[in-house]
Amino acid sequence: MIIVMLIGLAAGIFVGFAFDVSYPTEYSFYISMGLLAAMDSLLGAIRADMEGKYNNLIFISGFLTNAILAAALVYLGDRLGLPFYYAVILVFGGRLFQNLAVIRRIIIERYLAKKERDITN
Protein backbone atom coordinates (compact mmCIF):
# COMPACT_ATOMS: atom_id res chain seq x y z
CA MET A 1 0.00 0.00 0.00
CA ILE A 2 2.83 2.38 0.88
CA ILE A 3 4.48 1.59 -2.42
CA VAL A 4 1.28 2.44 -4.30
CA MET A 5 1.06 5.75 -2.47
CA LEU A 6 4.68 6.62 -3.14
CA ILE A 7 4.25 5.79 -6.80
CA GLY A 8 1.12 7.97 -6.89
CA LEU A 9 2.93 10.91 -5.27
CA ALA A 10 5.87 10.58 -7.62
CA ALA A 11 3.56 10.34 -10.62
CA GLY A 12 1.64 13.42 -9.41
CA ILE A 13 4.84 15.44 -9.00
CA PHE A 14 5.98 14.28 -12.41
CA VAL A 15 2.66 15.26 -13.98
CA GLY A 16 2.80 18.65 -12.26
CA PHE A 17 6.27 19.34 -13.63
CA ALA A 18 5.76 17.75 -17.03
CA PHE A 19 2.56 19.57 -17.95
CA ASP A 20 2.83 23.30 -17.51
CA VAL A 21 -0.51 23.64 -15.76
CA SER A 22 -1.54 27.24 -15.25
CA TYR A 23 -4.71 28.57 -13.68
CA PRO A 24 -6.05 32.02 -12.74
CA THR A 25 -4.59 33.14 -9.42
CA GLU A 26 -8.07 33.65 -8.01
CA TYR A 27 -8.49 29.85 -7.97
CA SER A 28 -5.31 29.16 -5.98
CA PHE A 29 -7.36 28.99 -2.77
CA TYR A 30 -9.70 26.42 -4.24
CA ILE A 31 -6.77 24.23 -5.20
CA SER A 32 -5.28 24.61 -1.73
CA MET A 33 -8.60 23.58 -0.20
CA GLY A 34 -8.83 20.60 -2.54
CA LEU A 35 -5.30 19.61 -1.53
CA LEU A 36 -6.20 19.83 2.17
CA ALA A 37 -9.35 17.79 1.62
CA ALA A 38 -7.37 15.15 -0.27
CA MET A 39 -4.71 14.90 2.42
CA ASP A 40 -7.38 14.68 5.11
CA SER A 41 -9.21 11.92 3.24
CA LEU A 42 -5.97 10.04 2.65
CA LEU A 43 -4.95 10.06 6.31
CA GLY A 44 -8.51 9.21 7.33
CA ALA A 45 -8.49 6.26 4.96
CA ILE A 46 -5.15 4.97 6.28
CA ARG A 47 -6.44 5.24 9.80
CA ALA A 48 -9.67 3.41 8.94
CA ASP A 49 -7.61 0.79 7.14
CA MET A 50 -5.50 0.21 10.21
CA GLU A 51 -8.55 0.03 12.43
CA GLY A 52 -10.05 -2.47 10.01
CA LYS A 53 -13.08 -0.29 9.19
CA TYR A 54 -12.09 0.74 5.68
CA ASN A 55 -14.83 1.21 3.07
CA ASN A 56 -14.27 2.38 -0.51
CA LEU A 57 -17.57 4.22 -0.71
CA ILE A 58 -17.00 6.14 2.52
CA PHE A 59 -13.49 7.09 1.37
CA ILE A 60 -14.47 8.50 -2.01
CA SER A 61 -17.74 10.11 -0.89
CA GLY A 62 -15.97 11.69 2.09
CA PHE A 63 -13.33 13.15 -0.16
CA LEU A 64 -15.85 14.55 -2.63
CA THR A 65 -18.25 16.08 -0.07
CA ASN A 66 -15.39 17.56 1.93
CA ALA A 67 -13.84 19.10 -1.17
CA ILE A 68 -17.18 20.49 -2.33
CA LEU A 69 -17.98 21.98 1.09
CA ALA A 70 -14.50 23.50 1.31
CA ALA A 71 -14.86 25.07 -2.13
CA ALA A 72 -18.34 26.36 -1.25
CA LEU A 73 -17.04 27.93 1.97
CA VAL A 74 -14.15 29.60 0.15
CA TYR A 75 -16.52 30.92 -2.50
CA LEU A 76 -19.01 32.21 0.07
CA GLY A 77 -16.22 33.86 2.05
CA ASP A 78 -14.93 35.48 -1.11
CA ARG A 79 -18.38 36.88 -1.88
CA LEU A 80 -18.95 38.15 1.65
CA GLY A 81 -15.41 39.38 2.19
CA LEU A 82 -15.10 37.12 5.25
CA PRO A 83 -12.20 34.69 5.74
CA PHE A 84 -14.35 31.55 5.85
CA TYR A 85 -11.44 29.50 4.58
CA TYR A 86 -10.04 29.64 8.11
CA ALA A 87 -12.77 27.18 9.11
CA VAL A 88 -11.67 24.78 6.37
CA ILE A 89 -7.99 25.08 7.25
CA LEU A 90 -8.66 24.63 10.98
CA VAL A 91 -10.93 21.61 10.59
CA PHE A 92 -8.84 19.79 8.01
CA GLY A 93 -5.56 20.69 9.69
CA GLY A 94 -6.85 19.57 13.07
CA ARG A 95 -8.12 16.31 11.63
CA LEU A 96 -4.79 15.70 9.93
CA PHE A 97 -2.98 15.79 13.26
CA GLN A 98 -5.68 13.76 14.99
CA ASN A 99 -5.58 11.01 12.37
CA LEU A 100 -1.80 11.00 12.42
CA ALA A 101 -1.86 10.60 16.21
CA VAL A 102 -4.25 7.62 15.95
CA ILE A 103 -2.09 6.01 13.23
CA ARG A 104 1.00 6.49 15.38
CA ARG A 105 -0.71 4.91 18.38
CA ILE A 106 -1.82 1.90 16.36
CA ILE A 107 1.67 1.39 14.97
CA ILE A 108 3.26 1.65 18.41
CA GLU A 109 0.71 -0.74 19.90
CA ARG A 110 1.38 -3.25 17.17
CA TYR A 111 5.10 -2.88 17.71
CA LEU A 112 4.77 -3.35 21.47
CA ALA A 113 2.46 -6.33 21.02
CA LYS A 114 4.98 -7.93 18.67
CA LYS A 115 7.80 -7.33 21.15
CA GLU A 116 5.70 -8.89 23.95
CA ARG A 117 5.08 -11.94 21.77
CA ASP A 118 8.78 -12.20 20.97
CA ILE A 119 9.67 -12.13 24.68
CA THR A 120 7.07 -14.71 25.66
CA ASN A 121 8.11 -17.02 22.89
Binding site: G8, A11, G12, Y23, S28, G34, M39
Partner: protein, 249 residues
Protein backbone atom coordinates in the same frame (compact mmCIF):
# COMPACT_ATOMS: atom_id res chain seq x y z
CA UNK B 1 -8.19 -4.52 -2.33
CA UNK B 2 -7.44 -3.63 -5.92
CA UNK B 3 -10.00 -0.84 -5.95
CA UNK B 4 -8.55 0.53 -2.75
CA UNK B 5 -5.08 0.66 -4.28
CA UNK B 6 -6.45 2.52 -7.29
CA UNK B 7 -8.22 5.05 -5.06
CA UNK B 8 -5.09 5.62 -3.00
CA UNK B 9 -3.13 6.05 -6.16
CA UNK B 10 -5.55 8.63 -7.56
CA UNK B 11 -5.66 10.66 -4.36
CA UNK B 12 -1.87 10.60 -4.02
CA UNK B 13 -1.57 11.64 -7.65
CA UNK B 14 -3.89 14.57 -6.96
CA UNK B 15 -1.96 15.58 -3.84
CA UNK B 16 1.40 15.49 -5.59
CA UNK B 17 0.13 17.27 -8.65
CA UNK B 18 -1.58 20.08 -6.75
CA UNK B 19 1.45 20.60 -4.48
CA UNK B 20 3.66 21.07 -7.53
CA UNK B 21 1.15 23.30 -9.32
CA UNK B 22 0.64 25.47 -6.25
CA UNK B 23 4.34 25.89 -5.50
CA UNK B 24 5.05 26.70 -9.12
CA UNK B 25 2.48 29.47 -9.33
CA UNK B 26 2.36 30.87 -5.81
CA UNK B 27 6.17 31.11 -5.56
CA UNK B 28 6.04 31.46 -1.81
CA UNK B 29 3.77 34.48 -1.91
CA UNK B 30 0.41 34.64 -0.25
CA UNK B 31 -1.94 35.06 -3.14
CA UNK B 32 -5.38 35.65 -1.71
CA UNK B 33 -7.08 38.11 -4.06
CA UNK B 34 -10.15 39.61 -2.48
CA UNK B 35 -13.23 40.20 -4.59
CA UNK B 36 -12.93 43.94 -4.03
CA UNK B 37 -9.51 44.04 -5.68
CA UNK B 38 -10.89 41.97 -8.55
CA UNK B 39 -13.78 44.39 -8.88
CA UNK B 40 -11.43 47.37 -8.96
CA UNK B 41 -9.41 45.76 -11.71
CA UNK B 42 -12.58 44.94 -13.62
CA UNK B 43 -13.75 48.56 -13.42
CA UNK B 44 -10.33 49.81 -14.55
CA UNK B 45 -10.31 47.42 -17.49
CA UNK B 46 -13.82 48.43 -18.49
CA UNK B 47 -12.86 52.11 -18.33
CA UNK B 48 -9.83 51.53 -20.52
CA UNK B 49 -11.93 49.59 -23.00
CA UNK B 50 -14.46 52.42 -23.15
CA UNK B 51 -11.65 54.91 -23.71
CA UNK B 52 -10.40 52.81 -26.59
CA UNK B 53 -13.87 52.67 -28.10
CA UNK B 54 -14.16 56.45 -27.83
CA UNK B 55 -10.84 56.98 -29.54
CA UNK B 56 -11.78 54.58 -32.32
CA UNK B 57 -15.06 56.43 -32.75
CA UNK B 58 -13.25 59.77 -32.91
CA UNK B 59 -10.81 58.55 -35.54
CA UNK B 60 -13.70 57.09 -37.54
CA UNK B 61 -15.56 60.40 -37.43
CA UNK B 62 -12.49 62.37 -38.48
CA UNK B 63 -11.84 59.95 -41.31
CA UNK B 64 -15.42 60.28 -42.53
CA UNK B 65 -15.18 64.04 -42.45
CA UNK B 66 -11.93 63.93 -44.36
CA UNK B 67 -13.42 61.57 -46.91
CA UNK B 68 -16.43 63.80 -47.56
CA UNK B 69 -14.21 66.84 -47.95
CA UNK B 70 -11.89 64.96 -50.26
CA UNK B 71 -14.80 63.69 -52.31
CA UNK B 72 -16.09 67.24 -52.64
CA UNK B 73 -12.73 68.57 -53.81
CA UNK B 74 -12.33 65.68 -56.19
CA UNK B 75 -15.69 66.55 -57.73
CA UNK B 76 -14.50 70.17 -58.08
CA UNK B 77 -17.48 71.38 -56.17
CA UNK B 78 -17.54 74.57 -54.19
CA UNK B 79 -16.84 73.51 -50.59
CA UNK B 80 -16.46 76.98 -49.11
CA UNK B 81 -19.90 76.76 -47.53
CA UNK B 82 -19.07 73.52 -45.68
CA UNK B 83 -15.69 74.83 -44.62
CA UNK B 84 -17.26 78.04 -43.40
CA UNK B 85 -19.84 76.14 -41.34
CA UNK B 86 -17.10 74.00 -39.86
CA UNK B 87 -15.02 77.06 -39.03
CA UNK B 88 -17.95 78.75 -37.34
CA UNK B 89 -18.59 75.61 -35.36
CA UNK B 90 -14.95 75.58 -34.26
CA UNK B 91 -15.07 79.28 -33.42
CA UNK B 92 -18.17 78.72 -31.32
CA UNK B 93 -16.49 75.90 -29.41
CA UNK B 94 -13.19 77.69 -28.85
CA UNK B 95 -14.78 80.92 -27.73
CA UNK B 96 -16.84 78.96 -25.22
CA UNK B 97 -13.94 76.83 -24.02
CA UNK B 98 -11.51 79.75 -24.00
CA UNK B 99 -13.76 81.89 -21.85
CA UNK B 100 -14.47 84.72 -24.30
CA UNK B 101 -18.27 84.48 -24.02
CA UNK B 102 -20.79 83.81 -21.28
CA UNK B 103 -21.92 80.21 -21.01
CA UNK B 104 -25.03 78.54 -19.65
CA UNK B 105 -25.77 74.92 -18.96
CA UNK B 106 -26.68 72.34 -16.33
CA UNK B 107 -24.25 71.76 -13.51
CA UNK B 108 -23.57 72.24 -9.83
CA UNK B 109 -23.18 75.17 -7.48
CA UNK B 110 -20.87 74.68 -4.52
CA UNK B 111 -20.97 77.11 -1.61
CA UNK B 112 -18.10 77.00 0.89
CA UNK B 113 -17.92 79.20 3.94
CA UNK B 114 -15.90 79.41 7.13
CA UNK B 115 -17.13 77.18 9.92
CA UNK B 116 -19.19 78.64 12.75
CA UNK B 117 -18.52 76.00 15.40
CA UNK B 118 -16.68 76.82 18.63
CA UNK B 119 -12.98 76.14 18.59
CA UNK B 120 -11.57 73.47 20.86
CA UNK B 121 -9.23 74.74 23.56
CA UNK B 122 -5.95 75.68 21.87
CA UNK B 123 -7.22 74.78 18.41
CA UNK B 124 -5.85 76.60 15.42
CA UNK B 125 -8.55 78.83 13.85
CA UNK B 126 -7.17 77.82 10.44
CA UNK B 127 -8.98 74.52 10.95
CA UNK B 128 -12.35 76.09 10.15
CA UNK B 129 -11.34 78.70 7.57
CA UNK B 130 -11.59 78.26 3.81
CA UNK B 131 -8.16 78.26 2.16
CA UNK B 132 -6.96 78.61 -1.39
CA UNK B 133 -5.96 74.94 -1.31
CA UNK B 134 -9.53 73.88 -0.54
CA UNK B 135 -10.73 75.76 -3.61
CA UNK B 136 -7.99 74.27 -5.77
CA UNK B 137 -8.73 70.74 -4.61
CA UNK B 138 -12.46 71.15 -5.22
CA UNK B 139 -11.83 72.57 -8.69
CA UNK B 140 -9.57 69.64 -9.45
CA UNK B 141 -12.19 67.16 -8.24
CA UNK B 142 -14.83 68.88 -10.36
CA UNK B 143 -12.59 68.68 -13.43
CA UNK B 144 -11.90 65.05 -12.65
CA UNK B 145 -15.64 64.45 -12.53
CA UNK B 146 -16.12 65.91 -15.99
CA UNK B 147 -16.73 69.63 -15.43
CA UNK B 148 -16.56 71.59 -18.67
CA UNK B 149 -16.54 75.16 -17.38
CA UNK B 150 -15.83 76.41 -13.87
CA UNK B 151 -16.09 79.76 -12.18
CA UNK B 152 -15.25 80.86 -8.63
CA UNK B 153 -17.15 83.87 -7.30
CA UNK B 154 -17.90 84.86 -10.87
CA UNK B 155 -14.26 84.57 -11.98
CA UNK B 156 -13.99 82.22 -14.90
CA UNK B 157 -11.32 79.57 -14.44
CA UNK B 158 -9.30 79.50 -17.66
CA UNK B 159 -5.93 78.06 -18.60
CA UNK B 160 -3.97 80.92 -17.01
CA UNK B 161 -6.13 81.23 -13.90
CA UNK B 162 -4.48 81.20 -10.51
CA UNK B 163 -5.83 80.93 -7.01
CA UNK B 164 -3.57 82.03 -4.19
CA UNK B 165 -3.78 82.89 -0.52
CA UNK B 166 -3.66 86.53 0.56
CA UNK B 167 -4.29 86.75 4.24
CA UNK B 168 -7.98 86.57 5.04
CA UNK B 169 -8.91 86.78 1.40
CA UNK B 170 -8.20 84.63 -1.62
CA UNK B 171 -6.82 85.98 -4.86
CA UNK B 172 -8.52 84.57 -7.94
CA UNK B 173 -7.29 85.71 -11.37
CA UNK B 174 -5.61 88.66 -9.66
CA UNK B 175 -8.77 89.88 -7.89
CA UNK B 176 -9.35 89.58 -4.17
CA UNK B 177 -12.35 87.75 -2.83
CA UNK B 178 -13.53 87.06 0.70
CA UNK B 179 -15.78 84.32 2.01
CA UNK B 180 -18.23 82.86 1.09
CA UNK B 181 -16.94 81.20 -2.03
CA UNK B 182 -19.33 80.04 -4.73
CA UNK B 183 -17.94 77.59 -7.26
CA UNK B 184 -20.12 76.98 -10.31
CA UNK B 185 -19.40 74.23 -12.77
CA UNK B 186 -21.15 73.13 -15.97
CA UNK B 187 -21.14 69.41 -16.53
CA UNK B 188 -22.75 66.19 -15.34
CA UNK B 189 -24.26 67.45 -12.06
CA UNK B 190 -24.94 64.13 -10.38
CA UNK B 191 -21.46 62.85 -11.16
CA UNK B 192 -19.75 66.00 -9.90
CA UNK B 193 -21.79 66.14 -6.71
CA UNK B 194 -21.18 62.44 -6.10
CA UNK B 195 -17.44 63.01 -6.48
CA UNK B 196 -17.52 65.74 -3.83
CA UNK B 197 -19.99 64.44 -1.25
CA UNK B 198 -19.40 60.72 -1.61
CA UNK B 199 -17.49 58.84 1.10
CA UNK B 200 -13.97 60.23 1.13
CA UNK B 201 -14.99 63.11 -1.14
CA UNK B 202 -13.42 66.45 -0.37
CA UNK B 203 -16.76 68.04 0.54
CA UNK B 204 -17.29 65.44 3.23
CA UNK B 205 -13.80 66.10 4.55
CA UNK B 206 -14.50 69.84 4.77
CA UNK B 207 -17.80 69.21 6.54
CA UNK B 208 -16.04 66.97 9.04
CA UNK B 209 -13.64 69.81 9.82
CA UNK B 210 -16.65 72.01 10.60
CA UNK B 211 -16.71 74.17 7.49
CA UNK B 212 -19.93 75.01 5.71
CA UNK B 213 -20.19 73.12 2.45
CA UNK B 214 -23.33 73.07 0.32
CA UNK B 215 -23.76 71.65 -3.14
CA UNK B 216 -26.82 71.92 -5.35
CA UNK B 217 -27.50 70.55 -8.80
CA UNK B 218 -29.02 73.26 -11.01
CA UNK B 219 -30.32 73.30 -14.57
CA UNK B 220 -29.15 76.75 -15.60
CA UNK B 221 -25.70 77.59 -14.32
CA UNK B 222 -24.43 80.83 -15.86
CA UNK B 223 -20.68 81.19 -16.11
CA UNK B 224 -19.48 84.63 -17.20
CA UNK B 225 -16.73 85.29 -19.69
CA UNK B 226 -13.15 85.85 -18.62
CA UNK B 227 -12.68 89.59 -18.27
CA UNK B 228 -9.12 89.98 -17.02
CA UNK B 229 -6.12 90.95 -19.10
CA UNK B 230 -4.92 88.18 -21.37
CA UNK B 231 -1.90 89.60 -23.12
CA UNK B 232 0.81 87.12 -23.99
CA UNK B 233 4.39 88.18 -24.31
CA UNK B 234 6.62 85.17 -24.57
CA UNK B 235 4.87 82.46 -26.48
CA UNK B 236 5.15 82.12 -30.22
CA UNK B 237 3.85 79.55 -32.62
CA UNK B 238 6.17 76.62 -33.07
CA UNK B 239 6.61 75.26 -36.56
CA UNK B 240 7.55 71.73 -37.35
CA UNK B 241 11.13 72.42 -38.48
CA UNK B 242 11.93 74.27 -35.26
CA UNK B 243 11.22 71.17 -33.15
CA UNK B 244 14.25 68.95 -32.79
CA UNK B 245 14.04 65.25 -33.31
CA UNK B 246 12.71 63.41 -30.25
CA UNK B 247 11.58 66.55 -28.46
CA UNK B 248 7.93 66.22 -29.23
CA UNK B 249 6.84 64.58 -26.04
Amino acid sequence: MKRKAILYFIICLFVGCSIVVLTKTVNGQHLFVSSKVLDDYRITIEGERKDMENIIKLTDESREELETLEALTAAHEDISREVEAKLFQDLHFYSLAGGYVDAIGPGVEVVIDDGTRDLEYGENPNDILVHDLDLLLIINELKDAGAELISVNGQRIVDTSSISCSGYTVRINGQFYARPFVIRAIGDGSRMSAALIGPGGYGTVLKDWGLIFRISILDDIIIPAYVEDRASKYMTLSTADKVKEGEKN
